[in-house]
Symmetry: C2
Subunit: 427 residues, 2 copies
């Protein structure tokens, strides 16, 4: 265990205990731990509504109660811990994240936001501070979406984007229903799932990307979440002998796939689509023999853009590019199927400014950045002013992997900023 | 059985019997026949030095002897059938091809050349014509190279490019040696394998490509065999999250692979490399997930060119392109390994002219074309004036497939041209 100095704070600041935060993070990481063959490290597999998730939830509730919070569970299994304010009738400030994980997780994704908010409450207790507004810590159900194939599930139902029935009827790969599994682990709570809008929502999360590390910041202010568009594109050509078939008579499905990949990058580099990101992660051609022109190629196209209009423009222009491909290879057939699509979310400028000012009082320089991944905060943004704090990740920001890591110092920095932000917003 | 009219010939021509030719083609096709699941057709699997090949060889020898030929077998199992000439001391005219097949073959690849030359001999017999020069029909061993992984093996040793020891020591996937298998089937002959140069060599073969069909010719004159270069190219990048990793920080192995595929086609279209053909048949990226930038991509690059100098230029320029790829993606590593390379072969202009003139006397228009695939004729071209006759294939010229097909009429046309050519060259 590294010894972490408590962030040094001016008198108007709240001093959090970095060592204590780290200890809770490591304790929670033991639930669902497994030996990861690929990395040789201990990974975490604590998928939603499994026995491991139940054990993790019980620990969170225990720790909330130890910190004096009043715990309630809603119909989606979302866990809320309330710390009363001086004016109990005011809308509460909410902070949180999730503790469910992917199958090969590290200790930080989600957990830092829940345990960080809990550390803030402990620090408030230690300092004898009572805030004007109530503070509620939320631990959302099935944020990852890996088990029931819809991410941000708990927060999406709480904020009203998805219905309770929709969620209950989702089944995992083994055919087990969400509603049944929620009951099985004893977390189908009595509290109505639809939330009244809180005063504001803040979430601290590991970045899961390399930007803060590359740019040299421990902490970042998140401006919003990108729109995401996933397509599966199948190219139908004609198999032909590489030696005997003249170029003009070919319908090369692999070439068409390559042209799409190169075009997607050209679009990104053109600057015409703002902060567009385009990724082709899956590429396959068949029959896959060196001397046979591919008759079939399959790729995925992942587009991300913080701007919905520019995203729509990128999608439309790419579709036009698909439609033009048979001009150079008559007979080519392009089959594009959209498999996922979410709109961009912009976080509250006011909350972002509060976070920035809070970092400033701690002497932390920050940068603003967009989130490439989805978060519960994007659901909450629909019903209340919301923003996020990102904490720098190590190893190129690797995530969904046991190598995921933030240093104790960076975790303490992020949660110090969260503390000051929560103090401001609940004042 | 379709009834095929004998090609109508002027008095100075040799009338071959198209029906007889077709019957022998279909009879030989019964040896090694199997029910092909993929096509629902009867295919042929008569790989070199198998029991099927032995049976086929015995039939060929029987048919040669029935046609009055003197049969000899050399140390490579190459079969020669000699028809004496009026001047036995003159160098013989040689015509031939092979009867070994790939695992999923049709009835024409190779067999048309051997049985066609035999039909020419029968027609000479029928017409009571004795040529000035001896005529030798050759059936070469292991032309396909599928069993012992070196194609044109029998003719390459006979013409001196490969040694007998090299051939004998080749083993199939089961570890069986070529030399042992040759002995096992009783075809290790006494005749020394190194050939004295014959007067000329001609080979009739199904095109195995779509050109003659597309251009509307039954028969083509082959100008040579392309140089072939095979490379396996592995791109080493860095895995990264599609949502969180800025474009500038990516090392996208899949993108680099796509850039190579597009560049190869650009080179072909540029015209700078003559009749270059470039094919990327194998494309694979890993980990292959929609939201992960590929850390690894693997492609094959198949280049063909009838001109060795332009082929070398294409290879060098592509290598330069590989070397420049890390400029736009620093950290990218390109690993290119050459897995096959043969030089271009140009056939004799004189023999091509004889073939053209022979077609003309039959009233067949012809076109000249390069062979995309390898043939025994390219080995013989090293020791004697050589050229080939191509016969139109159906179904886009599909080959290495039970759907491989030439019509009885087109086969008769090709062998009529072969007959007149052999008559001219043995006169």
């Amino acid at each position: 265990m590294t010894t972490v100095p408590s962030a040094s704070v001016a008198p108007d600041q709240l001093a959090i205990d970095g060592n204590r935060l780290w200890k809770f993070l490591m304790d929670l990481a033991e639930i669902g731990a497994y030996d990861d063959q690929a990395t040789g490290l201990v990974g975490i597999n604590r998928q939603a509504l499994t026995d491991g998730d139940r054990e993790g939830r019980r620990l969170i509730i225990l720790w909330m109660e130890e910190a004096g919070l009043e715990v309630s569970i809603d119909e989606m299994g979302n866990i809320f811990g309330r710390r009363e304010g001086l004016e109990p009738c005011l809308d509460a400030l909410m902070a949180g994240s999730h503790i469910d994980t992917v199958a090969t997780a590290g200790a930080f994704d989600g957990c830092l936001g829940v345990l960080g908010a809990l550390e803030v409450v402990r620090s408030l207790n230690d300092a004898g501070i009572q805030t004007r507004r109530p503070i509620v810590i939320a631990a959302w159900t099935e944020e990852e979406g890996v088990r029931f194939s819809t991410d941000m599930l708990g927060s999406a139902v709480a904020a009203g984007r998805l219905s309770l029935d929709y969620a209950y009827d989702l089944a995992d790969e083994g055919g087990l229903r969400f509603g049944d599994e929620l009951e099985r682990i004893g977390f189908k709570g009595p509290r109505p799932v639809r939330l009244d809008s809180p005063h504001a929502y803040v979430e601290c999360h590991i970045e899961q990307g390399p930007v803060l590390a590359q740019e040299g910041y421990a902490v970042g202010v998140v401006t919003g979440v990108q729109a995401i568009s996933w397509q599966k594109v199948t190219l139908h050509g004609r198999a032909a002998h590489a030696g005997t078939t003249p170029i003009g008579l070919r319908i090369d499905a692999g070439l068409a796939a390559a042209q799409i990949i190169v075009e997607a990058r050209r679009m990104v580099n053109s600057g015409e689509y703002g902060q567009l990101r385009a990724t082709v992660g899956h590429i396959r051609a068949s029959p896959g023999l060196p001397s046979v022109v591919p008759d079939l190629a399959e790729i995925t196209v992942d587009l991300r853009n913080p701007d919905d209009t520019l995203m729509a423009k990128a999608e439309a222009d790419l579709e036009e590019f698909f439609a033009a491909l048979p001009e150079t290879q008559p007979g080519l057939r392009v089959e594009a199927r959209r498999v996922a699509r979410t709109r961009a979310v912009s976080f509250s400028n006011e909350i972002q400014d509060v976070i920035d000012a809070s970092a400033d009082t701690h002497g932390f320089d920050t940068m603003r950045l967009t989130s490439g991944a989805g978060h519960d905060a994007q659901e909450m943004a629909a019903i209340t002013p919301t923003a996020m704090i990102f904490v720098r990740g190590q190893y190129d920001g690797i995530s969904y992997n046991p190598r995921e890591y933030s240093t104790p110092e960076d975790c303490a920095a992020g949660i110090s900023v969260l503390a000051k932000t929560m103090l401001e917003l609940s004042a």
